[in-house]
Symmetry: C2
Subunit: 393 residues, 2 copies
């Protein structure tokens, strides 16, 4: 496949997403969606830019019950947005702290809905609103004839099920990170700090084709670790430690999210056994994650596989999650999430095993849930915990 | 200075930020701040983690009118947050879609304020709320005895003025990106696509000491460009084009944000002249950005320097902005921003010159506003636009 074909989405696919949203809006009695966040706007328009890192300017898409979406965006995005499939793109000179496009949004909503109706906004689980609250309250007041209703379920139900093109991007990101993991045991020296190692790992991801590595956390601990979300420290690896790297590399706007454990020198029996059990628990999740099962079913399958050694607290609160345009997405593989799995969902399986208070191990792979046969999107970790032999440099 | 001293902030500095916020809260009649976003929580606690990329779990800090802040965070952050200076850290098992910590936040607010009072939340310009709106509305209803007031000005006034330690981090990020720019003219070949070049640039930033490169946009155009916020394409450089790279590299959680232009082959007279005028406009901004002047004054100084050739539209809406923990921060160097500049502010100066419809040039440097003498935090771009001689490979 040529590089060009790896990038972006066909107009047909993006239009299909809009049509599907519109069908679900009709069922839910919602007349238009108002979207403000990067993943939601990208999902329907295909617009990809790092510029969202600047919090200064809001961006809006109004998605009507029928017809095409209307984008209301700051002037600075005009040329970039002209590359999307949308024909109705309106801009305002921003920064404009007084209004920041709100009057144009109100106009667009009135145009597509009329003087009254139901506006769907993602308000629920995992959602945010990317505009100042005072502007949102003003917009709601201005549109006093309208009801505002949560539309998280519509966005969630669409985004959870990935297309072939989306799966390919996640797989490309995972492949790059996998190559970087492959290099890690060969290049680590006894003078390396966590920071050296993380930096080299990021470079290896880029060299292997990742566009960037927005997420890289982990750390080291003797016989397990306590903190799995921190940046690297100046700590130098020592024999007997377990090293964890948890990576979210990105390709064309899609994340992988998986981790790998390494033993510095030969592992203790306890660590080797825990690692094996985590690998088995992933496999139990892989088997359980069938279309028609719930997120909770997968949680229970993993929990049963993990829990043979007795109860343990679960600091992560779940054994995996969806992913795609964001590092983590719905559903949560948790004790309470009743989301039904469907063909095309991409999930991480992430068991967590407590060895002692403040000392645990996690392991994470990515799978595609498929009607025909589930598939790993990562090259699964080796059966035995890989060993780093510190090279003298 | 050792690497360890480059990282994080002293407890005294973080406590000082809290005390200053409390003094301004007292003046504004605000009894407690409720903070939910990454930069605000990091500013007062020092907590730095990529984990914010996961939208699943909200995090909260309640900053009372006196005494220490209370953090209410998901279980998974407990070990990482234990490294901060805060003594009162409360956790809940998350994901918990029903409550996600809101009851604990309400308890904490009642503990530190009582049964009624004024809660400050950033609601204004450039602010967001990082929790689902439906949870926020529930919290507001639960705390029915409390008034909720915008506290953007308090957070803004504090964060705009950087400490020496903050400036050093921005400068470290700028130094790494500067080194990567230095290598660019030597390594570009005639087969390079924008993507190849951007990837190599990111690697060079990491090798030069950046922790990551979350922002890298730009592009190429003949005699100027139209789009300054897009990711790189598969386009291969051609003689006569101008290449722009605009980089936000990060060191210890602080961004640089500046750009460099390159001419592929010798520049046209028009491009060479425009480049010179942009450099002069930056210098005019540097001279104008004195403590006591306003953001608008700097805008006008740059505009006057730029505008000698006649009027031009301004797609960026401003000629620079603050930066620090975020790629862009208040103030905006715009026609309407009356923010008064102070000793210790870090600003980008970013003139924009339109050469023809759909064809412009931008240029951006970073400066420190200082009572004694302003200082560039970037090594300023060369006087003449650097030329890329495409190497045959």
């Amino acid at each position: 496949m040529s590089e060009a074909m790896d990038r972006g989405f066909s107009e047909a696919e993006l239009r299909g997403r809009v049509r599907l949203a519109q069908a679900r809006m009709a069922l839910a009695g919602i007349d238009a969606l108002l979207l403000t966040t990067e993943p939601e706007i990208r999902y329907f328009t295909g617009f990809l830019s790092d510029f969202w890192l600047s919090p200064t300017r809001p961006w809006y898409v109004v998605l009507p019950g029928s017809g095409e979406p209307v984008a209301i965006i700051p002037d600075i995005g005009k040329a970039a947005f002209a590359c999307t499939w949308l024909s109705d793109v309106r801009t305002w000179p921003s920064p404009d702290p007084d209004a920041e496009g709100v009057p144009f949004v109100c106009d667009a909503i009135r145009e597509v809905v009329g003087e009254a109706g139901v506006i769907g906004i993602p308000m629920g689980q995992e959602s945010h609103l990317r505009m100042p609250i005072e502007k949102f309250l003003w917009l709601r007041e201005t549109l006093s004839g309208f009801a505002f209703r949560d539309c998280t379920e519509i966005v969630k139900s669409l985004r959870m099920v990935k297309s072939g093109a989306e799966v390919a991007k996640i797989e490309s990101a995972a492949r790059a990170a996998g190559a970087a993991f492959g290099a890690l045991t060969r290049t680590t020296t006894e003078n390396d700090s966590e920071r050296d190692l993380f930096r080299r790992f990021k470079i290896a991801c880029l060299e292997a084709g990742a566009d960037d590595v927005p997420y890289l956390v982990g750390g080291t601990g003797t016989g397990g670790y306590d903190d799995i979300i921190s940046p690297p420290s100046g700590h130098r690896l020592r024999r007997g430690e377990v090293l964890l790297l948890d990576v979210g590399a990105r390709f064309d706007g899609y994340f992988c999210d998986f981790d790998r454990n390494f033993s510095v020198g030969p592992p203790s029996r306890e660590v080797a056994d825990a690692y094996t059990r985590l690998r088995e628990a992933v496999e139990a999740g892989f088997v359980a994650a069938r279309p028609g099962a719930t997120a909770r079913d997968v949680f229970l399958a993993i929990h049963t596989a993990i829990d043979r050694g007795g109860g343990s607290p679960l600091p992560t609160g779940r054994y995996g999650h969806g992913l795609g345009m964001q590092l983590t997405e719905w559903p949560s593989l948790s004790a309470t999430d009743a989301t039904m799995l469907e063909d095309g969902m991409v999930l991480t399986l992430e068991p967590c095993l407590s060895l002692a208070p403040g000392r645990y191990l996690v392991h994470e792979e990515i799978i595609l849930v498929s009607e025909t046969r589930n598939r790993y999107l990562t090259k699964p970790a080796p059966d035995d915990i890989p060993e780093i032999r510190l090279v003298r440099n």
